[in-house]
Amino acid sequence: MNGFPTFYIKAMIKNPIFFIYISFVLFFVYFIKGSLHITIFEFVRLFFHGYICSNLFLLISTAWVISKRYESLVFLERDVLKKQWKLLFSAFIISSVVALLPMAAMLAFKNPLTDGSFLWKGLVHFFILWTLSNMLAATIGTTIGILVQHRASILLSLLLYGYFLWKSINTTITYQQKLLNIFDDYMQVETNTMSGTIFNLNYFLDKLFLILLMLFLLLITYSVYRKKKTAYILLAVLALLAMKGVVIYGEKHVQKIRAYPTAEFAHVPYAVQTYKMDLALTNRLKNTAELEMSFSSAGDAINLLLDDCFTIDSVKVNDSPVKYSHKNNLLKIDVPYRPNETKKIVVSYEGDVQLEDDLGVLTYYVTNDAVNLPGWLFAWYPAMPEPKPSYYDVRLDASAKIYSNLGIFTGETERKGETSSLSLFAGQYQTLTDNGVTYILPIDAHLDVFQSSLKGLINQAAKARHRTLSASDLQSLQNRAYKTVIVGSWPNGLDDEGLRLVGDTLIVNDSNY
C-alpha cells in the first residue's frame, strides 16, 4: 500500500531489540497490574518505566534507521525529510499497536467500580502520554540521525533524551519544569483517587509544549536540508517563542490556593441566616447565591470571602445593583447597614475551578465528572470564615452524582437543611453502609481498612495537644455520632487532623487516612 510505511516498520521491528522491548512492556504491565485495583490513573502514573522503555526503543531504532544512508535508497527516496516523516509515521504506528498491550490490561484488570467516563479518560490519558513521549523520542532520534548521519547519532539522541528524562523524574514543581516532564506531571506526586486525570487548560498546554518542542526539532532539520534556510530558522525561532509563550500563558493562568484574608472578619457585626443557591456544575461553576443577612450593629460595607477564580456578574442588595470590589479572595459590597436590619444579597458569579496546592497538585476542582469543593476551606460561595450554621436551600444541576453534607444531588436536585458550610464532592466514589453510617469512599478503599484508619485518626486527634477539632466535635466522633462519612481532598499541611465534622457528616481528607 502506497504511503503506508511497511518497509520502515519492518526495518524497526524485525530485530531482537523489539522483542526485548515488548518483553519489558509486558513485564511492567504485569509488575504494576495491581495498581489497576486502585484506579486506571494510578496505573498510568506508575507505568513510566514502560514509557521509558518504549521511548528508548523508538529513539534507538529511528536514529539507527535514519542514520544509515544506503545509496540505492538515497537515490530512490531523494528527500531525507520525507524519510524522516515516514519514520515518524512508522514510530506512531508501532507505538499505537504496542499501546494496545497495556490498554488491554487496563480494561481487563481495572477496578470494577470504575465508571465508564473515567475508564475512557484513563485510556485516553494513557494513550496521550504514551504517544507524545514516544513521538518526542522518535523526533529526537530522527533529527539527530539526520544531522549526524553516523552511528554516534544513537548516543547523541540518548543524551538529549536523557535530559528530558532527568527533567521528568526530578521532583521539581516550577511550571516550566513541569512542562519539560514528558510523562505524567504527577509521576512523582501522588494525587487523589477520586478526581482521575483532569483534562484542563494546563493539561493541554503541557501537551502543546511537547508538540512545539517536536516541531522545533523538525524545523531544525528543515533549516539544514531545505533551500529556504532562513525561513525555517525563523519558524524554529517562532516555535521556541511559542514554547516560551506557553510557559508565560500557563504560569499566568495557573490557579494557586492562596490564603484568605480572615483578619478582615474579626468581630464583624453580621451573619448569614439563609443561603439560597441556584448552582450549575459543568466544567465550570456557575452560581446565583442569595444570602439573607442580619446585622447587629451599623456599618457601611459587607465583606465576604469568595475565591478569585470566580468572576462576578452582578451583586444586588434588596434587588438593587450595588457597587462592590472583588480582589484577594475578598468580596467587598459597599452597602450601609443598621443594627437589627436584614438584607437580601444576591451574588451571581461563575468561573473555572482548577486550584493547585503548593506541590502543583490539583486540589479544588470542578469538572463534568469530578468535583472537590470543601466549603469550610474553599470559598466557592460567598461566606465568612468559620461560619455559624445557616439554612441552605440549594438547587443544583450537574451531570455527575454530587455527594454533599446536605445529601446526594443527582441531575437537577434541590436540597435543604441547616449546616455551617456546604461541601460538594464527585468523582470515583463508592457508597457503602455499615451500622447505619453511609460511607462515601474512593473506589479503591476497603471499608474495614478505612474504619480502622479513621479510628486511628480520631484517637490521634484526641491525644493531640493542639487540635482544630472542638471538644464537642471530638466527642461526637468518638461516639460515632455521624451518619455520613465522605472522603474529600484538601492540602494536608493545614494541621487539621484531616477530619471535619459538619453537622452529622464527617469529611475525611483523602491524604490522611
Partner: protein
C-alpha cells in the same frame, strides 16, 4: 526506435577543483562501459546522471526529457545500482522490492512484477530471508533486481561485478546482457575483461574529459598503431623501462621477455606492430597517450 541518452557539455566542480570539464556523449540501448582511473570523474558522472548532484553547466537528456530539470526526478525511468549495494539487514529481499515498487509508483500488479523479477534473477531461495543473511552474489542480484524493477529506460550501474567470484561474475554478465536489450545500461567498471565481453560502447574518462568514445573494435584499432611488441633480454628491458611506457610483460625463458609498450617519437629497434592487442592494452594506451 529505442532509447537515447545524451550528455551535453556537462561540467562539474567542487569549488575550484574541476571534476568534469565540458563532457558530451550519447548512448543508445545496450551496454555502455564507463572507464577511467580513480579520480577521473566516473562516480561524479554517475551522481549527475542519478540526479544526486547538479552540474555547474550542461544538460542530460533522456529520450528528449531533461533529467536535471524534471521534478521530481523520474526514478521510474532510471534504475541505479551503486558500487556498494547494502541494505538494512533485518528486512527481506521481498520487503525491499516491494518498497522500491511503491517508491517508483509502478502501475502493474505488484506481486506479479516482483515474482517475475525474483524468477529472472534467481532470487527465489532467499527472497523471504533477511538481507543480512545474503551472500555477496545474492546481494548483488537483489541490487540489480531493485534497479530494474519497473523496466527503467536508463540503468546506471557502478562496478557491477566487483567482489564477485568468477562464476557469479559470469552469471551477472548474462543478467546485464539480458536487461540491456531494451534499456540504456551505463556501467562504470575497472574490470576490462567484463567490458570486452558485453559492451557495445566504451567511454574513457581521463583528466576530467572524455579520452575515447567508441566501440571495443574502434578502441583497439585506434590504439594498435601505437603499441609495439619486442622480444628482449632483461638488461634491455630495464633500459627500455626508462624510455617508454611498458604495458605488458611476459617471461618467455630465463632471460627472455616479450614486452608491449607504447611507442614514442623514437622507434625501438626490432620492435614490431602486432595484428591483435588486448582491450586492456588499448585502455592503458588511452590512459597514457
Amino acid at each position: 526506435m529505442g532509447n537515447h541518452l545524451s550528455i551535453e557539455n556537462v561540467s562539474f566542480s567542487y569549488g575550484k577543483n574541476v571534476v568534469l570539464d565540458n563532457i558530451s556523449f550519447a548512448c543508445r540501448d545496450g551496454i555502455t562501459a564507463l572507464l577511467g582511473n580513480n579520480g577521473a570523474g566516473k562516480t561524479t558522472l554517475m551522481n549527475l546522471l542519478t540526479g544526486l548532484k547538479k552540474p555547474s553547466r550542461g544538460r542530460i537528456m533522456l529520450n528528449g526529457i531533461d533529467l536535471l530539470k524534471t521534478k521530481p526526478y523520474p526514478i521510474d525511468q532510471v534504475g541505479y545500482l551503486p558500487q556498494t549495494f547494502d541494505m538494512y539487514g533485518n528486512v527481506t529481499g521481498y520487503d525491499l522490492l516491494s518498497y522500491v515498487f511503491d517508491l517508483k509508483k509502478i502501475k502493474t500488479n505488484k506481486k506479479e512484477t516482483i515474482d517475475e523479477i525474483v524468477e529472472r534473477f534467481h532470487l527465489g531461495p532467499v527472497i523471504h530471508q533477511r538481507i543480512g543473511k545474503y551472500s555477496g552474489g545474492y546481494k548483488r542480484r537483489l541490487g540489480i533486481a531493485q534497479a530494474v524493477i519497473g523496466k527503467p529506460t536508463l540503468l546506471i550501474i557502478d562496478e557491477p561485478t566487483a567482489g564477485l567470484d568468477p562464476e557469479e561474475r559470469a552469471q551477472f554478465r548474462s543478467y546485464l546482457s539480458e536487461i540491456s536489450n531494451d534499456a540504456i545500461t551505463l556501467i562504470s567498471t575497472h574490470i576490462i575483461e567484463d567490458v570486452e565481453l558485453y559492451s557495445q560502447q566504451i567511454i574513457i574518462l581521463k583528466d576530467h574529459s572524455i579520452a575515447f568514445d567508441g566501440s571495443v573494435a574502434e578502441m583497439i584499432s585506434e590504439s594498435i598503431p601505437y603499441i609495439r611488441t619486442l622480444e628482449t633480454d632483461f638488461s634491455t628491458l630495464m633500459a627500455l623501462r626508462k624510455k617508454v611506457t611498458v604495458i605488458e610483460e611476459k617471461r618467455l625463458s630465463t632471460d627472455r621477455y616479450k614486452i608491449r609498450f607504447i611507442k614514442n617519437e623514437q622507434d625501438v629497434a626490432d620492435s614490431y606492430q602486432e595484428k591483435e592487442i588486448s582491450l586492456e592494452n588499448a585502455y592503458i594506451y588511452f590512459q597514457n597517450r
